[in-house]
Amino acid sequence: MLNLKLYESDVKPDWCPGCGDFGVLAALKNALAALEIPPERVQISSGIGCSSNLPGYIRTFGHHGLHGRPVPVATGIKMANPDMVVIVTAGDGDEYGIGFNHLVHAARRNHDIKVIVMNNEIYGLTTGQLSPTSEKGQRTKTSPDGSIIYPLNPLSTLLGAGATFVARGFSGDPKQLSSLIQEAIKHRGFALIDTLSPCVTWHDIYDKVRAKMYKLEGTAHDSSDLISAYRLALESDRIPLGLFYRTEDRPSFEELMSEDVTSIYPVDNARNLTAEQIASVMARFS
């Protein structure tokens, strides 16, 4: 276990007191320290939203980019430098709304990135509008009479899309969350951790989660069984927390890429083509 201080930023989070995202931040630091990954080997990408402010609050490399786009940014980073541990931290609006297509395709390609979605079922930073995971009937600034729209189930959708690691965490249980993050980092390829992280200002789901949650650890659930994971994901009376599904059967995109592209050299070492390469390439242009 590395010293947690290593990951300490000098910026105080701007989150509201009580915001779930504090728990996610703590769990993430803990997981990195536990796996003994030094800060300079960690890359965190985020989008825009309260949750996406996270990279400023943890001392690693960060990319606080555009709303909905942290996944492709992370993918580019990982492909260019597979030595980095690449993590995405973002909100439900970011990842399940505007950025969902990137998430789905990164999952099916099995890019070796770990995505932690701080799901508060609301658009926090824009002051409380309907998000893709907002419940039917939920009153928000854009559904003053209660929403008529069915929410998206990110877990069943990602399972359907071929994600190789799917879990659900809760910011109120940073210990379990940390261990899920550790498992995700150790996993061979893409990982999604949908993390319930209540917004105490616009849509507080602490009570709901606490009332309905239970942990998968110790239950009969077999996390290598896709159908059973799918069934769990559809559960709505209760909220299962933990690892839904994992398979190590598929190599990650980056593994396959490294096999495929034979002559990879460190990308930061840009140089002209070699004489042999030039000869071979130019032969086709004559």
Partner: protein
């Protein structure tokens, strides 16, 4: 059409239906000509469909460098009635029309045009149940007429069918029948050029050239979503990925593509992506992101005729306004428009140096005409090109950090802050799209609106924009083509320079004194551009869009209004003859005025 001129060149056109293999035949002829010592320049008149319709392939070949489509048609192969109907009227006096009367009714011949009715289909049917080799027979015939060595034709055909040995031989045999037919039926007078089988030159189009230039400059990450006419770049990249070590990201859309490119560049790769206008529109938000996070980025936009889906396989220079106004609010960028494949090769490499030196997005504007639609002979390339990665910090010193973060956005005189790559010990920082201070801390939340934050915002905004001074100092003025002094100066940007180059000697031989200012470094404008424009006695702007975007841009930047324009916006390339006509009209009109 029959503009006479004295150059030792000739033009060939092959017309047929899509799926008839006319592009392949055209490429074989182009290679054969090049391998026989001719300079070539080609144009691919294709359509946004896979089979049927009408497509044509045009070759301009010469003993001296050729740049665009030349004048009229010296040799027309019309495999279909439509090809005949569409093209016969452009055949030059002394030219030849080759057709097969079993397929095509030759209803009309312009004055002085020869015709050859050849049994293309009948011959082709000897080799296959379907007459698919009719284009090969025609090819052989054409080679015979031109006086090319048959071995060169045969070799090139053999190469083309290398992966299909079963039809390799029969194609060569079919071509030979055409060749022999030509020897027997060649008309007396035909335009011919001299061949020289000792020289070796390369041919490529600007799509491949930009890819090659990028990779030679160290680009090892390429991302794309297919889009005509940018697709050849991704085809080349994937075909060479293994051998050259290129990591290719095939995104779910152009937004994913450009963001992955930015990620790769942020991580230290020289990274590039390409698309056409529609895809570029989708990339705009992310290009603003790269400018704000000061991540180097090279994006290629291969322009096609729009707006919207428009004409996917037709050419245009209509995207200038778009790239001048990418995304919201001001940020620094550079815009470069290569004129030719050679330009594309060198400017691609330079684009990476600019992008990294100034940590800005660099946009390369190509167009269908040179980017996908046309191959051209290029001079020998220099592969020993400069790679300058700018202020890249490999080791962090004390003054660069506060013990926690790396001072990524330090205020510097030239506006460029030292950059470190993920993985570098002690160099942790957060790249920010929110306005930020020198440490990459947000100015948009708890600090926003506070006096100090307001001042820092101003400084960071000014810092970013001030990089344009450095960029401007590297921007090259337009290149002058033709005589130093002239009665009329043509102004062009990007590929429009090429037909002008072919018009100038013709105009000269008709007694018109014309030169041309070829712009390729577009934004920021070189400081010398204004005086060069002012120095001209009269200006005529040539570009391929309906509103004269470049002329308007020049007016915005220099105050100089160019009142005469040759604007083409129907998707077809500019023909040198159109430039000739425009200049003659302008100058004649002037003479008339002077006489009156």
């Amino acid at each position: 059409m029959s503009t006479n001129h004295t150059r030792a060149d000739l033009t060939l056109r092959l017309g047929a239906a899509a799926g008839d293999g006319i592009q392949s035949a055209g490429e074989i002829m182009m290679k054969t000509l090049s391998r026989s010592g001719a300079y070539v320049s080609t144009y691919n008149g294709n359509q946004s469909l896979i089979r049927g319709g009408h497509v044509w392939f045009h070759i301009h070949a010469g003993e001296m460098p050729v740049y665009s489509l030349g004048y009229g048609i010296d040799y027309l192969i019309a495999l279909t009635q439509l090809a005949y109907d569409e093209h016969y009227s452009e055949v030059n006096s002394g030219g030849v029309v080759i057709y097969d009367s079993s397929q095509v009714k030759a209803h009309d011949f312009p004055n002085g045009v020869n015709s050859i009715d050849a049994p293309l289909v009948k011959t082709a049917l000897k080799y296959d149940k379907r007459p698919i080799m009719k284009n090969t027979v025609a090819l052989g015939l054409l080679g015979g007429l031109l006086g090319l060595k048959f071995e060169v034709i045969a070799d090139t055909i053999g190469e083309q069918f290398a992966k299909k040995p079963d039809v390799q031989e029969s194609n060569v045999a079919a071509a030979r029948e055409g060749y022999t037919f030509a020897e027997q039926h060649a008309p007396e007078t035909m335009r011919r050029i001299k061949f020289d089988y000792t020289v070796k030159r390369s041919i490529m189009h600007a799509g491949y050239a930009v890819a090659l230039g990028a990779v030679n400059a160290g680009c090892r990450f390429y991302a794309a979503y297919p889009m005509s006419p940018a697709s050849p770049i991704v085809h080349w990249m994937t075909a060479n990925a293994r051998e050259l070590g290129i990591r290719v990201f095939l995104g779910e859309d152009e937004i994913g593509v450009v963001n992955a490119t930015i990620g790769a560049s942020f991580a230290g790769a020289r990274a590039m992506c390409a698309t056409s206008g529609g895809g570029f529109s989708l990339m705009q938000e992310a290009i603003g992101q790269a400018a704000m996070t000061e991540t180097p980025l090279v994006v290629v936009d291969v322009m096609r005729a729009g707006p919207s889906t428009g004409l996917p396989t037709k050419t245009s220079q209509g995207d200038l306004n778009m790239v001048l106004g990418i995304s919201h609010d001001d940020f620094p960028r550079a815009i470069i428009a290569p004129r030719s494949p050679e330009d594309a090769y060198y400017l691609a490499g330079r684009a990476f140096n600019l992008a990294e030196r100034y940590q800005i997005p660099v946009i390369i504007l190509l167009d269908f005409a040179i980017g996908d639609g046309g191959y051209a002979t290029i001079d020998e390339l220099d592969f020993n090109t400069l790679i300058d990665r700018g202020k890249l910090v490999r080791e962090v010193t004390k003054d660069m950090t506060n013990g926690v973060w790396f001072k990524r956005y330090s205020l510097t005189e030239d506006g460029v802050s030292p950059r470190a790559l993920p993985g570098t010990a002690g160099a942790m920082y957060v790249a920010k799209t929110d306005e930020h201070d020198e440490w990459g801390h947000d100015l948009s939340d708890v600090e926003a609106g506070l006096r100090t934050a307001i001042q820092m915002r101003e400084k960071q905004h000014v810092k970013r924009m001030s990089k344009l001074k450095g960029v401007a100092s590297e921007m090259r003025p337009p290149e002058l083509y033709g005589p130093d002094k002239a009665d009329l100066t043509l102004v062009s940007w990007g590929s429009s320079a090429l037909p002008i180059r072919e018009a100038i000697p013709v105009l000269k031989s008709s007694g018109f004194s014309v030169n041309s200012l070829e712009f390729f470094d577009i934004f920021p404008l070189s400081a010398d551009a204004r005086s060069m424009l002012r120095g001209a006695s009269r200006l005529l702007n040539v570009e391929q869009n309906i509103t004269a975007q470049f002329a308007k841009y020049l007016r915005r930047e220099t105050g100089i209004e160019i009142k005469e324009n040759l604007l083409k916006y129907n998707g077809e390339p500019i023909y040198p003859a159109e430039v000739v006509d425009a200049v003659k009209n302008a100058l004649k009109h002037e003479e008339m005025k002077q006489l009156a």
